[in-house]
């Protein structure tokens, strides 16, 4: 099983350096694999260059897939975190 949710970025500068850094640092707290997808590209949320390379802008929708031991908890916390920070 895996957990999946979508999220729309509201930060005016999109998923740029600082928020991308926060996102990656957060993702690294979990055992689960976290995959962020946008516009046909999927990247590992624990890798900063991958996340920044998505080029996500304000108003873009991203899909997040969480899979692993702590996936339920990780997905819920990660979604909350994205809402608060991006």
């Amino acid at each position: 099983m895996s957990q999946e949710f979508t999220f729309t970025v509201s930060d005016p500068e999109g998923m740029h350096a600082r928020p991308a850094g926060l996102l990656v640092a957060k993702a690294q707290q979990y055992d689960s694999t976290i995959i962020v997808s946008h516009d046909g590209k999927s990247v590992d949320a624990k890798r900063i260059f991958g996340v920044m390379g998505l080029g996500v802008k304000q108003g873009d929708e991203v899909t997040v897939k969480v899979q692993g031991n702590d996936e339920v908890n990780a997905a819920a916390e990660f979604e909350q975190f994205l809402k608060e920070n991006l």
Binding site: A17, A25, G50, K57
Partner: protein, 555 residues
């Protein structure tokens, strides 16, 4: 103000045709210090023991991460937590598995030295950012190079960052380019401002300069000359001008501007957050006029209480064809969101007269000011008007938007426009699209007819906003484009002032508010008059907000 003419003996290192851009406002006057930050070539060597070289890379990488941790703490202490987070991101970059694998694979497979592997990988990752269609992300190429150079410096046994070699006086920093880490490592007490040959408005140097309140200019390009080290200079972070060895005239002029700018900043500090209220307690809402979403930054910086006039023309003037609903929606939404609860009055299409747009195919007119313009176009071509109204209504849920109709001369025009607005609202309801059901609708008072009919008009709308430029033109029958009419086109004419008074009184009789969004609102010699008339709102250019607040508070 025009810059001093080119016959001055100052050496101007850039002019209007150049690419230089002021990215942080303010003026600095002082000696130049050139920083050597250019990219140095990295030597490619073949190594005998790739495994040992990988270990050497890992040790250098760990040392660089440790430096970044220190830099993070220094930045947090000096600039705040928000600015420091960038260096957390830099640490993540150095630990990124894709980045590390790329370097280690290069060392293992090509048997190259660690410096070369780091540099190649940095260039490859930087190229990825440079190729993105987003100026912000393009600027991140500099971040990749910055962190990579830190590792290379450790590998080469150099200390990281910029050496602070002169102990003494404060200088204007001149460099090929400045990485964010280099910017924060400078002793800020000894920096007067920044000038770089490269860089972008979104670079961290620009952002930090603004945080530090120091003037900064980027992109002077070929005008960068290391031989300027030690020379006197004047830099203007607003216009992007740099003068090396300024003559007395230039120096005196910029000393004057610097004093004026500092006075403005002092006023800002003193008046920010203070109510706009006279000594006897009469309150005026002090708003700002803007022409595009990016102007919101100046609105907030000058502490305006709302936006009294957002001219939507830029959407039409800067397009090749009719702007789409989505394009308009994004612009309105951006402004509404950034202003939060504060009112944003958006004026609907005001094309025609002196603002011509090709794709509208407007016929040539003998008297365009008396011709087919603004609301007249909207009412005869409702299909264009509806696109704008849909965008405005959709954006209305993101903040506090009001709609303002220009060039009104009759009650029927207002009713017709409101009828179209109702149709658009019904369409949106049918599509289950949310909008603010109670959105305020107001009109510009800029024709004598609208003043004469002000009572009837006030019964139809939520507010009046007086456009003093057109109201003067139409009241005094003076073409505002004609420079020979100066003494006749007197904006202080009792006829114009009486028009303003009549409109305001009619508004108050019907319980609606009345403001001014024309140039006259910022005329401090009329502030007393406007307070006596009882105007509820004044909307002026962002830089006029605080001087006006000052005048009102002293009334």
């Amino acid at each position: 103000m025009p810059p001093p003419n080119s016959s001055s003996s100052s050496r101007r290192t850039c002019d209007e045709n150049d690419t230089s851009v002021g990215v942080s406002a303010g003026i600095a006057i002082g000696a130049i210090r050139v920083l050597d930050t250019a990219d140095h070539a990295v030597e490619r060597r073949v190594v005998d023991d790739p495994q040992a070289e990988v270990e050497r890379f890992r040790a250098a990488r760990d040392a660089a991460v440790a430096q970044l941790k220190q830099l993070r703490d220094k930045t947090a202490a000096e600039f705040g937590e928000g600015k420091a987070e960038l260096f957390d991101t830099h640490q993540l970059m150095l630990r990124d598995p894709d980045y590390v694998e790329s370097i280690e694979d290069l060392i293992a497979q090509s048997k190259v030295n660690a410096e070369y592997a780091v540099n190649s990988t940095a260039e490859q990752f930087a190229a990825m950012f440079a190729a993105m269609d987003n100026s912000y992300m393009q600027a991140r190429a500099a971040d990749v190079k910055d962190v990579s150079h830190r590792v290379i410096n450790v590998l080469e046994g150099k200390r990281g960052g910029v050496a602070d070699e002169d102990g003494g006086e404060s200088r204007i920093i001149l460099a090929e380019d400045l990485a964010p880490s280099e910017t924060v490592q400078l002793d800020r007490a000894k920096v007067l401002g920044f000038v770089t040959a490269k860089g972008s408005a979104n670079s961290h140097t620009a952002i930090l300069a603004r945080t530090m309140g120091l003037p900064a200019i980027i992109g002077i390009g070929d005008a960068f000359d290391p031989a300027d080290d030690g020379h006197a200079a004047v830099i203007d972070g607003t216009s992007g001008l740099v003068f090396v060895d300024p003559d007395e005239k230039t120096l005196a002029e910029y000393q004057g501007r610097k004093a004026k700018y500092e006075e403005h900043l002092r006023l800002l500090q003193e008046l920010k957050g203070k109510p706009t209220e006279t000594k006897s307690g009469q309150k005026v809402r002090l708003y700002a006029n803007i022409g595009r979403p990016s102007d919101v930054a100046a609105v907030l910086a000058n502490d305006a209480e709302g936006i009294g006039l957002f001219r939507s023309e830029f959407l039409y003037l800067e397009s090749e064809d009719y702007p789409t609903e989505e394009f308009q929606f994004q612009a309105y939404k951006e402004v509404a969101q950034k202003m939060g609860d504060r009112l944003v009055v958006i004026r609907t299409l005001d094309i025609g007269a002196d603002k011509q747009v090709g794709y509208f195919n407007l016929e040539h007119e003998a008297n365009p000011a008396l011709g087919y313009r603004a609301i007249r176009i909207c009412l005869t071509r409702p299909e264009i008007f509806k696109v704008q109204l849909r965008a405005l209504l959709r954006a209305s849920v993101y903040g506090n938007i009001a709609i303002m109709l220009p060039m009104i001369t009759s009650v029927q025009e207002v009713r017709d426009a409101k009828q179209i607005l109702e149709e658009v609202k019904n369409e949106l309801r049918g599509e289950h699209i949310d909008f603010n059901e109670h959105i305020q609708v107001g009109i510009m008072i800029e024709t004598p007819a609208s003043v004469i009919m002000a009572d009837e008009l006030a019964a139809e709308v939520d507010f009046f906003s007086i456009g003093t430029n057109d109201l003067t033109q139409y009241t005094l029958a003076c073409d505002r484009q004609n420079p020979n009419l100066g003494r006749f086109a007197d904006t202080h004419s009792p006829a114009v002032l009486r028009m303003i008074k009549m409109a305001t009184e009619a508004a108050h009789r019907h319980g609606i508010w009345c403001g001014i969004c024309g140039e006259l609102g910022a005329d401090l010699s009329l502030t007393d008059t406007f307070l006596e008339i009882g105007l509820d709102e004044l909307s002026v250019s962002p830089t006029s907000v605080l001087p006006l607040r000052n005048a009102i508070r002293n009334h």
